[in-house]
Assembly symmetry: C2
Homo-oligomer: 404 residues x 2
């Protein structure tokens, strides 16, 4: 799975989409914090949102608007989540969308809104109002990478992926951006991601393919087990590539699904690698569970254990903590049967230390930036995969001082 | 609820119990790591154990032995959990108990065993065997406080509480020790605690009263959300005070329950205050939930959120993270109705910032070592209380380097 970072501006090759990003001074000066994705025509749209019962105003607004399956523009700010802001927050989200709609000359209900940042503070609407004309005016002057930059909060690098596909002999492009990097435990995903494509895609299939791709990408990562109030991932397909619409059950649909899954998984991995304070990306594999549900429980318990994550940070091959996390996950485990591996080094056999030079070899593996932990419960066929980060001093520093 | 630390040796006033503690070199030299509690006669005994499905050998052994409701001695080591050690671990736990039984001249199955420390390494039985004669020989030469010291791992102070009671005109004493301080999320409790009393207590009532006391003490604390493989809390009541046995439904029973609850809650709070790296103890109160179960879910989600706990460490009145945690807890919440308080300062009203000088006043409260967070969901009558610590740099340091 090649996940290479792409060059600036590579998102610009998606036909019929224009991008803009400005400094609206929602964040500290000198940083892009307000972005616009605009299609030349209404586009087939699908989206998923946070499962947190406390939902930010932009989530509530976009949730409602996307039910029709059509949108034309998406406006997103970073630096302020517009969450826990009550009626004022809803009014601010709606006004933001209306100002963008008026500026672009499109229908108000075709504008989706997203926000990310501090919870509980009203959006600085004076500054938003002042910035929106330049945002709208600048559409096309910026690239998808600028959007990726404008949605960053504690992210340390912009996250952008682009893939080329073909349907009915016609080439199309998918481009996507994402941001992390704290409050990451997907369910849906705990982050923002916006996908644009010029492919023509049958609406019901787009929704289905998108949910499927999210489930095997953003929904299998965790940084700190906290699910945000502002998660949103959307895909807009404007059909301007001119291909015959991609329909379910065709080879083109398979190819499209595969591209979409690949692109989102690459972004998901970037989010983990760029998790707050993260120094490692660890793949947690559970095999041999009695069910898929059990495997997921076990994988998430390991991936979210503070003790496991601090051991990863300390490069300590402390496999006991990993088995303990599986033990309290709620998953079935026979403690005399489980095996555990760091990459291909077996640390545990039949529930006890595998012996030999496993300690030394396991410790070497934990020094790597990326490695895997595989736990084989030997009880059934259930398996699950989750990507997680370690828990470092920098996570504490970043989050102890976040608002200051 | 007065939770004062008691003077050394205060546990010695429980009639018919003798205590011993030695250095068996399971831990680093110079530290007590093997302790014995011995009653002059078989005692009515109740115990609760970890709900982790991966259970240490001593837990498995003691679980089986305590079903009869009688014991006479308890031997406990720190520095090694004897968990994930397979058949060898079971044999080592049994041998430890047998050597103690032989030394004390009591029946082998009257000896309970407990361990705490690193998972996955065999008990150093050579050193244990060498140390047990001195341990047995020294019975009565040490106090309950020495037991408290001998069971410490990353704990920074010994935890000991003693209370005096009266039944049928006869005075009795309850004395208890506990240790924390990582892998703390009670369910049962994630720690060790041993209670001794010279009161005569009817066996069924002792079990009931003990479970009840554990549920409102060790089971409402969390440090890091990790449930250990070695949790165990036990109570031994030898009746040597000479009171008529305390039976359910009497004023004496109420008084005994109250003393037991008080003593365990004091120890539980000490565990949180001494949580790994903890600089704060925070009381999380949920009120107005649709049910008690919902209130518990919400309280535990807040108490275990890394983002909330790092904000506590940073003394940042970041109430948005607290509402977000309630939102993903699975508990019902109407985000436009919730209130939130730091001590008596209202930070959130009807789901939004309460305004005024709340930010400044809330920030002052977060500077305290102990404070409360109260969330009123205004949906029903469900309430719950959980004690938690903050998440600090020292937690990361302690756990990144634990085995080295």
């Amino acid at each position: 799975m090649g996940c290479e970072m792409l060059e600036s501006g590579s998102g610009g090759s998606v036909k019929g989409f224009r991008f803009s990003a400005v400094e609206a001074a929602v964040k500290k000066p000198g940083r892009l914090d307000l972005a616009l994705i605009l299609s030349d025509a209404p586009t087939v749209t699908a989206a998923v949102f946070t499962t947190n019962r406390v939902k930010a105003a932009p989530v509530l607004l976009s949730l409602e608007r996307v039910t029709e399956g059509v949108s034309q523009a998406l406006v997103v700010n970073s630096g302020n989540a517009n969450a826990c802001t009550g009626g004022q927050g809803m009014a601010d989200a709606a006004e933001t969308a209306r100002l963008v709609a008026e500026g672009c000359g499109i229908a108000e209900d075709l504008v989706l809104v997203a926000s990310t940042g501090v919870i509980g503070k009203p959006l600085p609407m004076e500054r938003m109002r002042a910035a929106i004309p330049a945002l709208v005016h600048g559409a096309a002057s910026r690239s998808m990478e600028d959007v990726a930059r404008a949605i960053m909060t504690t992210d340390t690098f912009p996250k952008l992926e682009t893939r080329a596909g073909e349907a009915g002999g016609v080439k199309y492009t998918i481009s996507a951006v994402a941001k992390g990097s704290g409050m990451i435990m997907p369910n849906m995903a705990t982050m923002l991601s916006f996908v644009v494509t010029d492919a023509a895609v049958e609406p019901a299939f787009l929704t289905k393919a998108f949910r499927k791709a999210v489930n095997v990408s953003f929904n299998i990562i965790t940084v700190d087990g906290d699910t945000s109030t502002n998660d949103m991932a959307s895909v807009m397909a404007n059909g301007m590539a001119g291909n015959p619409p991609i329909c379910e059950g065709t080879p083109e649909a398979e190819r499209f699904e595969s591209l979409l899954g690949d692109i989102l998984l690459c972004l998901a991995k970037q989010i983990v690698l760029d998790g707050e304070g993260a120094t490692k990306m660890v793949e947690i594999n559970i095999r041999g569970a009695v069910s898929t549900a059990d495997a997921k429980k076990a994988a998430m318990a390991v991936a979210n254990s503070s003790l496991v994550k601090t051991a990863f940070f300390g490069q300590d091959a402390n496999w006991g903590r990993i088995l303990a996390a599986v033990g309290y996950s709620g998953a079935e485990i026979d403690q005399d049967r489980a095996s555990l591996y760091f990459d291909d080094v077996q640390m545990v056999k039949d529930g006890v230390f595998a012996g030999g030079d496993a300690e030394a070899r396991g410790t070497e593996i934990l020094k790597k930036r990326k490695f895997s932990v595989t736990i084989d419960l030997k009880l059934g066929e259930g398996s699950a995969l989750v990507y997680t980060s370690d828990l470092s001093h920098d996570y504490v520093s970043i989050n102890a001082d976040y608002r200051t």
